[in-house]
Symmetry: C2
Subunit: 258 residues, 2 copies
DNA sequence: ATTCAGTTTCCACAATGTGGAAACTTGTGT
DNA sequence: ACACAAGTTTCCACATTGTGGAAACTGAAT
């Protein structure tokens, strides 16, 4: 065997399958999708159910994720202090600009949303914590790429994930991406104008830790009707001030890179 | 074997260990806590790392939960249509009373916090989503028990989990519990005065779905210095109005129980 | 240089996980 | 009422995978 524990891989693949499904799934569907015999899938699910990670509706025999998963949180995602330090600043920022504020990190060439403080006017669907999004067409992603040495992300963002188009404004060539990142580096913050296909505008800044490395990004976002182009400079300044406050909490000193 | 997949149990036990830890853990600690040989623990962790559920800090060799966990967490929360419907109402309620608002469900005789909207004055640590708490000494728990037929919870709450004491005010006898639940049923909402040992006061109401069943509860909570006894009737009315709004979204019609 | 504690790799072995077959359950069509 | 189909659950012989002790490796402390 290759070094991995096959049963663990299989069990987690089933959890991810259920996580991605919009509806509850039965054994046959799960077996088929995960390319397992029904009896094997059944045993995995029985174990996951026993532990609370999966629940089965007794009437329909179908499975869904269990609430036990919500307990899996402790030291925040490899960055122990990030969320704790960021939260108070995020709240102040939201109060100040009255739009939704997100915190995200870069992981394998994509952004992952870590925290969120919603604007009080926000309605409808909101970004789920844990959601991933492409780095090249989000303000959060672009700003982290702009302030991170290229060799640390090029392979994953450009070669592996690719610069996929999501809307008419998505960046899809390397030249366009590098030019945009240079602009962002000079400006200090990034903007995305619906590049993921959503009718939102986001303004994002970088968060550095004590070594000077970019460890996260913060954004202000809202519908394009609220976050108008005219507000961008003001929001840019606000998000940069918040990023600096968080960075200082993490021990960052501008001009003192290690 | 008993029917469970041992390796899956072990892997998830390790995830829970990391989830409960406030700091990163090394192989020896993990092996010791999970009663596994280091080599076995190492192989589990290698598999979990490969899949993104665990991350290892290369400098310290210590492990913590990985971002893949957040995706599953997000999926669980997203699946609960409850959360989507509740959120806007929770925000309005928080705006109105300016205290923290929680949403919780009952799961295996305990409450699980599902959503939270923090009061703008809130400082310091806050209740983690996914956290569990005993049902008998939380306003959220008591109100769900009061409006749920006893046979659906008695075994788990009273027999399995037990009426443990957490403070001088905790209910620890069945008679006292039933009397309290009857009071709550008549009043329509529950209050807890630091019964879990925390210096907070909570006021909670029940949320019903289209079948009339209690599916969740909503609470307003804050320090006892802010949520004074004099405010309880006002807060009770506010939380009940919010619960009704959410219940109606879920198809509930008072007096039309199925 | 040596020691120690923790981490990682190796590998012989046996216990666990596998998956096909069978049994069971439920819904549908006649 | 019966037959059939599809999906779920259980059983069990078997072999592959997971196990865990030993050894090797790593880095820090002395």
């Amino acid at each position: 065997m290759s070094g991995s524990v096959q049963s663990v891989e299989r069990a987690l693949a089933i959890l991810e399958l259920l996580g991605n499904a919009d509806i509850h799934l039965g054994i046959s569907e799960i077996a088929q999708s995960s390319k397992l015999p029904p009896s094997t899938a059944h045993r995995m699910l029985a174990t996951l159910m026993e532990l609370g990670y999966v629940e089965q509706n007794p009437e329909t025999s179908k499975y869904t994720l269990g609430v036990r998963i919500l307990q899996l949180r402790g030291a925040v995602i490899g960055h122990l202090t990030l969320g704790v330090h960021a939260m108070p600043v995020m709240k102040l920022l939201m109060n100040r600009v009255n739009e939704t504020v997100h915190l995200a990190i870069l992981n394998k060439g994509e952004i992952v949303y870590i925290e969120r403080v919603e604007g009080l006017k926000t309605q409808g669907m909101y970004t789920r914590i844990g959601k991933r999004a492409p780095a090249h067409c989000t303000a959060l992603g672009k700003v982290m790429l702009a302030f991170t040495p290229q060799h640390l992300w090029y392979e994953q963002v450009v070669r592996r994930n690719g610069l996929k188009r999501f809307s008419a404004t998505t960046i899809t060539t390397e030249d366009a991406l590098f030019a945009e990142l240079q602009r962002i580096y000079k400006l200090g913050y990034a903007v995305d104008n619906g590049e993921t296909g959503e009718a939102v505008r986001c303004v994002a800044g970088p968060i550095h830790d004590y070594t000077g490395s970019v460890v996260a990004a913060l954004s202000i976002s809202g519908p394009q009707t609220q976050v108008t182009p005219g507000r961008v400079p003001e929001l840019g300044a606000a998000v940069l001030a918040a990023c600096q406050a968080i960075s200082e909490k993490l021990g960052y000193k501008a001009g003192h890179e290690l």
